[in-house]
């Protein structure tokens, strides 16, 4: 017989512990269990589960359980009540949404203000060489101050 544990098929072993198998299958499995410690262990654990379930007793219900249950069912709110309750929460939810939207809007970076007219006009005449000139000056100043910091042992 192919070992159910090695085969990865535990259904037969579970059926055995649930006493759902026919006699020939039970005999065949019992023979296998005699030789296979893994299956034996699995069946023992499963039997322990069944025994624990058998030992558990549901607490008895109180005498007025049914009465209380039906009363609660009767007390369930009607659709009308639910509608009114929903209407009660709508303004609160809307207010919460508005606050979230306001927070989001105020945290966004402000819209870019266009350049003042005079600067916009100046930009029209800006030449790439002027950008390059500023970059060259920046580079010169940066290189010099870095060299000085390095010479002073600060870098």
């Amino acid at each position: 017989m192919i070992c159910p544990m090695e085969n990865g098929d535990h259904a037969e072993l579970l059926a055995l512990t649930a006493q759902q198998l026919e006699e020939p299958q039970v005999v065949r499995l019992q023979e296998h269990l005699g030789a296979c410690s893994r299956c034996r262990e699995f069946v023992a654990r499963q039997q322990a589960v069944w025994q624990a379930l058998d030992a558990w007793e549901a607490p008895a219900i109180t005498s007025d359980f049914d009465r209380r249950l039906f009363r609660r069912i009767e007390q369930r709110p009607s659709w009308r009540d639910r509608y009114w309750a929903f209407q009660h929460w709508v303004p609160i939810a809307a207010a919460a949404c508005l606050i979230v939207v306001a927070g989001w809007v105020s945290s966004r970076p402000a819209r870019v203000a266009p350049l003042p007219q005079t600067q916009a006009a100046q930009l029209q005449s800006l030449q790439p060489e002027q950008v390059e000139h500023v970059l060259d000056d920046m580079q010169m100043l940066s290189d010099f101050t870095k060299a000085a910091r390095s010479d002073a042992g600060e870098l």
Binding site: I99, V105, Q127, V134, L141, T145
Partner: protein, 175 residues
């Protein structure tokens, strides 16, 4: 009634936030920079976000837009702290009168042409001098020890550069 009141407060808060935004943007905005100097405009372009810059450049002829963008890209590629440091240096430099700017340029060129050993000594001295308050710096420059240590050309170089370039405190800490 109480719910409606809360709703009203929320709506009011929303409008206050929305109304406050343009005001905050105005207050948070830098004061309008001095005009007349293209360097000011270039630095302003450098400080802009990509969207702002695109909006500013969009009216230029496409070829010029591309050329300017390409040059600004060089600046954009620097780390943020270095960008900030260069902008501050450049701004200080731009505030000097043109003749002082030329003087600084010439003296930096002269510094770069010094022999390596002298350049190191002069560079370190410049770094110390630029930290000093004006009066103390002048006293140091006039001291006999200083004059004995540096040639007249180097002394002039140190005097010109240390009095025209910002103290290192202006520079943000390096990352």
């Amino acid at each position: 009634m109480r719910v409606n009141c809360k709703f009203g407060i929320a709506v009011a808060a929303l409008f206050v936030c929305l109304a406050a935004r343009p005001l905050a943007a105005q207050q948070g905005a830098r004061p309008a920079p001095k005009l007349g100097n293209p360097g000011t405009l270039v630095r302003q372009l450098m400080r802009m976000s990509p969207e702002q810059r695109e909006r500013a450049l969009e009216k230029l002829p496409p070829q010029r837009q591309a050329q300017i963008r390409e040059r600004l890209q060089e600046f954009d590629n620097l780390p943020k702290a270095e960008q900030q440091r260069r902008l501050q240096l450049s701004e200080h430099f731009a505030n000097l009168p043109p003749e002082k700017q030329d003087l600084v340029r010439r003296q930096i060129q002269a510094f770069n042409q010094l022999p390596d050993d002298r350049r190191r000594v002069v560079g370190a001295a410049f770094q110390r001098l630029r930290r000093l308050p004006e009066a103390e710096r002048q006293a140091r420059l006039a001291s006999p020890q200083f004059q004995a240590r540096f040639s007249p050309t180097e002394q002039q170089m140190l005097a010109d550069l240390s009095s025209n370039l910002p103290p290192p405190t202006v520079e943000p800490p390096r990352p």
